[in-house]
Amino acid sequence: MARLGMVIDLQRCVGCGACAFACKAENNTRDRADGQSFNWADFVMKTEGTFPNTTHWVMPVLCNHCTDAPCVKACPVNPKAMYKTPEGITMHDDAQCIGCRLCQYACPYSNGSLGEDSLDGAAYSVISFNPKDAPTHPKWTANAAVIPGGTATGALTAQAAGATPPAKNQWPAGDVDPVRKAGVVEKCTFCYHRTSNGMQPACVEVCPSKARIFGDQDDANSEIAKVLKAQKSFRLQEDKGTKPNVHYVGKYSARR
């Protein structure tokens, strides 16, 4: 059985954001609201030093698909809504989820509620929560027009497009639905609907710098295994003992 994981080469990454945009388009994630980012792919950013010896660095972040995933442990339902697939993907079953958010609180890479510091790359959350009894894409159910009688409302646009959101990426629903329902959490699935059909995750495919490598860490011939063998790598918050399957190599800034 494969042991799926990802390597992000920070030296190759140019911080362009393409991965995060591709993720939103691929997975139909909604816009930020009420402390929830709904960004399955996001960034940590920092500027250090004093001008002119300034260093700026960017680190793409996503669910680490931990081998010892605290979110899975915390999930109280049976069978679990948050669970591990045999290939090691930390997956979420909307049908089982009761919206208790224990996973969000247990995950060391998540925040129950994001503040202002999430707007400049100081904080992020890999798990987001869709509030109960509220539309999951409010922009596209809204009935207010910017210019009444002049521009379309969100609801009208969705109606004309025949989808919510209107640019919905509609894959045949199987293990994962293209759009979430109210009252459940959501997170990166390593693009399960793609990767279980022989494709690469959207963020990997779109990266112009080939900074992201996805594959089977146990297959000695895979690129990910080779890179992990050849280069010094690290994972986020190793001290928490979660054993992430997302690794980082290289250094973002060329500056010493």
Binding site: C16, G17, M45, T47, G49, H56, L119, D120
Partner: protein
């Protein structure tokens, strides 16, 4: 650089060229590449490449006397005026000076009686933006053809919803990249959700129909007689057919070439072009200009520009004066032979250092291609990918040392004033900017660009501030390029 030569690129970005005396800075870049031997070689700088595109049929037979005469009027953008040589390819008066149109309109308020404008949003996108508000307010009849209402739309008498062209319209887009020239086909790939029209073809066809009904058939005759489907020979009968026919005609040289083309595998016809959507020419030929084949007056790589000399001399002759006089009125310090070689010109600055101590640096967001993205929630959400920027906001970045001097801190609301205007934005102290300068991305500060771009569309409240309210309208007059870069506008910062 010399050590790495010829695999060294001195990049001619807009920062070099788009400032009030930018011509000579860009000539310096060009000459530096020449000295390094990096022109037209691997690892160096290359010239452009393209694929052959067909033109439209001649209009001569359809022009009446009014049209013939009006076509010769002086352009409102002032190109070719004594103080605006605007020399594209060293041809005086050939460069388009869009931003100067507002000045032309203000000088001669009666000149533009009807304005038809497609997609542009000059009231936001041009430096000295306030001039456009004044100029457009005085236009008796203004039609704006746009995908979404913008600042400029607020001045329109009629708004025509335009196609989102890359998915809803027909046209050929040519460009180059990575050593290949190419042509791509924009085609009606999706069902149109709304009643929108492609403004360059469909709207023109519909206009032509109406003009014909009113007894002015020339435009309709031109469209219906001269445009024919290259496959079937059929003339268009509707606006949409006209649009597709025009796209087919301009690209026939690619999908039905007279001689086989170099580059991609031959296209089997229009249907094949539609399926593939693109045709790329052959890989760039290195040393294309070497050996006397440069596109210059001497056909050589010019350190001393005989080409500029030719253009400037021609321009001076038109005004019966000297090249020195042209340079003087156009704001350059060069005299004599210096006019034709790269040399140092002191940077021009609007506002004295005493009154406006900071140089304002306007730069492009990596999330903008041209700049129409601010109403997209994802643009706002990931605005932080512009180093130092903050999502859903528009921060003016200042070095912390300057902040300490002024007693300002991150999060303060500040007013930014220049000789041209002022804006109010949020401050961020950031080590990424040089002391003495303040920097802000272009793109935010919309007050009428949709629900996301503006903080409150109905109340005309902007999200952030528009750099173009600060930047003074000025030009590199030899090229006609609008100045945006090089810190040419000084600003004063104070707590608001």
């Amino acid at each position: 650089m010399g050590k790495a030569a010829p695999k060294t690129i001195v990049w001619m970005g807009p920062g070099v060229a788009m400032n009030p005396r930018g011509t000579y800075a860009s000539m310096a870049v060009y000459a530096l590449n020449g000295l390094l031997g990096s022109v037209d070689v691997e690892g160096g700088v290359w010239q452009s490449s393209s694929v052959p595109i067909a033109g439209f049929p001649k209009t001569d037979a359809y022009l009446d006397d009014v049209a013939k005469g009006a076509g010769k009027f002086k352009k409102l953008d002032g190109r070719g005026a004594k103080d605006m040589p605007a020399m594209m390819n060293a041809r005086p008066g050939s460069g388009v000076v869009t931003n100067n149109i507002a000045n032309g309109m203000l000088k001669d308020p009666g000149a533009a009686k009807v304005v038809l404008c497609s997609w542009a949003n000059f009231n936001f996108s041009c430096t000295g933006a306030q001039r456009w508000d004044k100029a457009l307010a005085a236009v008796p009849f203004f039609v704006h053809m746009v995908t979404n209402p913008s600042e400029m739309t607020q001045f329109a008498d009629i708004v025509l919803p335009a196609t989102f062209n890359s998915a809803e319209g027909w046209s050929i887009v040519t460009n180059m990249g990575n050593g290949y020239g190419y042509a791509a086909l924009q085609q009606g790939a999706v069902r149109r959700l709304w009643d929108v029209k492609q403004e360059e073809t469909e709207v023109m066809w519909l206009l032509a129909e109406k003009l014909k009904a009113k007894g002015f058939p020339n435009l309709f005759d031109y469209y219906s007689k001269e445009f024919k489907d290259p496959e079937t020979g059929k003339a268009p009968t509707t606006a949409l057919e006209f649009s597709e026919t025009a796209a087919k005609m301009t690209s026939v040289t690619l999908w039905k070439p007279k001689e086989p083309l170099k580059g991609d595998a031959a296209l089997a016809g229009w249907a094949d072009f539609r399926r593939k959507g693109i045709f790329s020419g052959p890989k760039y030929t290195l040393k294309k200009g070497w050996g006397g084949k440069f596109n210059t007056a001497t056909k050589k790589f010019e350190f001393y520009s005989e080409t500029a000399k030719k253009g400037l001399t021609e321009h001076a002759k038109k005004y019966e004066t000297t090249v020195d006089d042209i340079l003087t009125v156009s704001g350059y310090v060069a005299r004599g032979e210096l006019a034709f070689v790269p040399h140092y010109e002191p940077p021009k600055r609007h506002g004295s250092l005493a009154e406006y101590p900071f140089a304002f640096i306007d730069y492009k967001s990596r999330l903008n291609r041209e700049g129409r993205s601010a109403n997209l929630p994802w643009y706002q959400e990931f605005k932080k990918v512009d180093p130092g920027d903050v999502a859903w906001d528009d921060v003016l970045k200042m070095n912390p040392a300057d902040g300490a001097k002024l007693g300002l801190k991150t999060g303060d609301t500040v007013s930014v004033a220049s000789p041209g205007g002022s804006m109010v934005v949020k401050l961020k102290l950031w080590e990424g900017v040089r002391p003495g300068t303040v920097a802000k991305c272009y793109g935010q500060g919309h007050w009428a660009y949709g629900a996301t771009a503006a903080k409150d569309y109905g109340k005309a409240l902007p999200r952030g501030g528009s750099n173009n309210d600060i930047l003074v309208d000025d030009y590199d007059r030899l090229s006609g390029s609008t100045a945006r870069n090089g810190g040419f506008t000084g600003v004063r910062i104070a707590k608001a």
